[in-house]
């Protein structure tokens, strides 16, 4: 059903062992490269630290490959342009950071309501307000979930490294098409500017999902078909003979505004359910050295890098500890977490660069008897493994 095309970006290495040529690349550049690999051909944005390199890179690339780039007057406008381009058939994205992400919420809600696929890379910096523009934080976990007014089907992915920035950007585009919804990539300042080894040519982890064209003639076409919950629905775009209406108002299956009760329920339930009911397909997490872990660290993004380092060092000291790393913040990988923690663990330690946004969720999914301990750092610096080790030793 899916019109997927396998993109081979790397030649098959024949004899295995020979090391691939590598290059040093930052997370921001990997997001931009991931977007292009996923087929992104429209970017609209507004400069903001620490995300601007994504935009600058795409300003260079887009005109070279027939893509469209535009710098807008603000982040609200950037999201508007992205939605417009997506409705015209583009795989489209924008990139921003906290304050800009707040401005985008109006149109993220619109894209969710009107079911327009698009990708927003939010490179988190320290907030609230202007905060520390050049320093890191993880303060937007909750904004990615509840930033919009109303209930939206939030999908947010949290990369931990430049290479994962690439793969998760590709996945963000795939998910956006699959669920016809905005998808957020929650990177952060550390990831953005950290350079790490990545292969010269990156092999895609998944097939690229293309937008499904409608299979019915225009007169039969419904932009919001009745069969709710289906993933991967066909979607017509502007200018191809399907003259449909799109609105941010609560709408019926044609897309026309409606205030009939059953249609209101349909419209809103479908939005939330398409992600909620498919959470098991979307949610992803990494379990790192979880064997017989007595203490489970939960950390995401760059904080998880420090946590991994801490786990390594602690395991060397024969301390039974493991890391659970949510790769999707939303939907939260609750099942995976519950299985990973199991009955043996003594405590869960949530390490994050905010005052406990993820800890609230972890607490919610853990049995009442399980202690959920916070370890927060909000000074703009990446949390040091030593700090985590100290906390673990205290708990162990």
């Amino acid at each position: 059903m899916t019109k997927a095309r396998q993109k081979k970006t790397s030649p098959k290495s024949g004899d295995g062992r020979k090391a691939d040529p590598m290059r040093l690349v930052s997370g921001n550049k990997m997001i931009a490269e991931g977007a292009l690999a996923a087929g992104c051909r429209f970017f609209a944005g507004y400069p903001i630290t620490p995300s601007s390199e994504i935009m600058e890179y795409l300003a260079q690339k887009m005109p070279r490959i027939g893509g469209k780039f535009i710098q807008m007057e603000d982040e609200i406008a950037s999201m508007g342009a992205v939605i417009g381009a997506s409705l015209a058939g583009a795989k489209a994205m924008t990139a921003t950071s906290g304050p800009g992400f707040s401005l985008m919420q109006e149109h993220i809600g619109y894209a969710a309501m009107a079911e327009v696929p698009c990708v927003i890379a939010n490179v988190m910096r320290s907030g609230p307000s202007t905060g520390l523009p050049t320093k890191t934080s993880q303060g937007d976990f909750m904004q990615a979930r509840f930033g919009s007014h109303g209930d939206i089907p939030a999908i947010a992915l949290v990369p931990e490294s430049p290479i994962e920035c690439f793969h998760l950007t590709v996945r963000a585009f795939n998910l956006a098409e699959e669920y016809r919804t905005p998808v957020v990539l929650l990177s952060d300042e550390v990831n953005a500017h950290m350079r790490e080894n990545v292969p010269m040519k990156i092999e895609l982890e998944a097939e690229i999902r293309e937008r499904r064209e409608p299979e019915v003639p225009p007169s039969w076409y419904k932009h919001y078909p009745e069969e709710v919950m289906v993933r991967d629905r066909p979607m017509a775009v502007f200018g191809e003979g399907y003259r449909f209406h799109v609105t941010g108002l609560t709408h019926d299956h044609e897309g026309f505004p409606s205030s009939k009760r059953d249609q209101i329920i349909d419209c809103h339930t479908h939005l939330v359910d398409k992600v909620r009911r498919n959470a098991h397909r979307i949610a992803a997490a990494e379990k790192y050295r979880m064997r017989e872990a007595k203490i489970v660290i939960v950390a995401a993004g760059s904080a998880a890098r420090s946590a991994k380092e801490a786990v390594k060092m602690l395991r060397n000291m024969r301390i039974k500890i493991g890391l659970f790393r949510p790769i999707t913040m939303w939907p939260f990988p609750k099942k995976q977490l519950q299985e990973a923690v199991g009955r043996k663990a003594k405590a869960v330690l949530v390490v994050e660069q905010n005052f406990g946004q993820m800890a609230v969720i972890v607490r919610y999914y853990m049995p009442r008897r399980m202690p959920v301990v916070h370890l927060n750092q909000v000074d703009g610096e990446l949390i040091e493994p030593e700090k985590i080790i100290a906390k673990v030793t205290e708990l162990y």
Binding site: F42, A81, A85, A88, G239, R243, F244, H245
Partner: protein, 284 residues
Amino acid sequence: MITETVIHKYLRPKKEFPHVWCAGCGIGIVLGSIIRAIDKLSIPKDDIVMVSGIGCTGRMPVYVDFNTLHTTHGRALTFATGIKHYKPRLKVIAVMGDGDGVAIGGNHFIHACRRNLNITTIIVNNFIYGMTGGQRSPTTPPGHVSTTSPFGSEAEPFDICDLAAAGGASFVARSTVYHSALLDRLVKKALTHDGFSVVEALSPCYTAYGRRNDFRNAVEMMADLRDRAVHIKKQDTSLPPLPDRKFYIGIYKDEDKPEFTAAYKRLMKRVREIDSPPGEEKEQ
């Protein structure tokens, strides 16, 4: 009537009527002008995207059989920009109200004027927020009463045409819904203009504005628009300020200026020539 059949050709067969507008509202006349202009130019329905913001004018696209997009308050032009930039072959029309277009959407408006994408923008100016019940807008005349200026508005209003021209729009014109033949011509001219075009259509809103400001009905408001309008003549080289709340109608500005999507196309060609071999993807 011929006009009736023309209009029916462009109305959406599936959409339930009646429409949301009050009796005596001028928005329908503006929609009529847009449809007549499109029909005269025989632009295929499939190639037209009508984008709107929020408000009474924002409800316009839902009734017409084009690609239609009802966006957020004030932001129609941002969506329109994305559509036009990605698919330049589409004819993009943005319809907005005065509060929608130049209050909450003011920043988007001036930047759209500056960029000069080939988008036809129609601003229905009725001097008030109609849909929300009659609050003052940035075009409410001083001294006029609204629900949020109960003692008369004390602020100076915007002149939308001045704003558009100063922002860099390459075609700027004004008419009223009383002068509907002129409005037809101006919309038609705007649709054929290569660049960002703005047509301001002054329109009566008796419900939310007229009845609070000493008009007895919508017809009186139409007569008022008729009486206050001063035609811009071909030979006019400058437009001196007018007394007694009079205003000009006609073409304010019509100039040739590089259009954005064409300039981007040239840019793509230029960068491709710089780095050979050329890129693999085809342009939209």
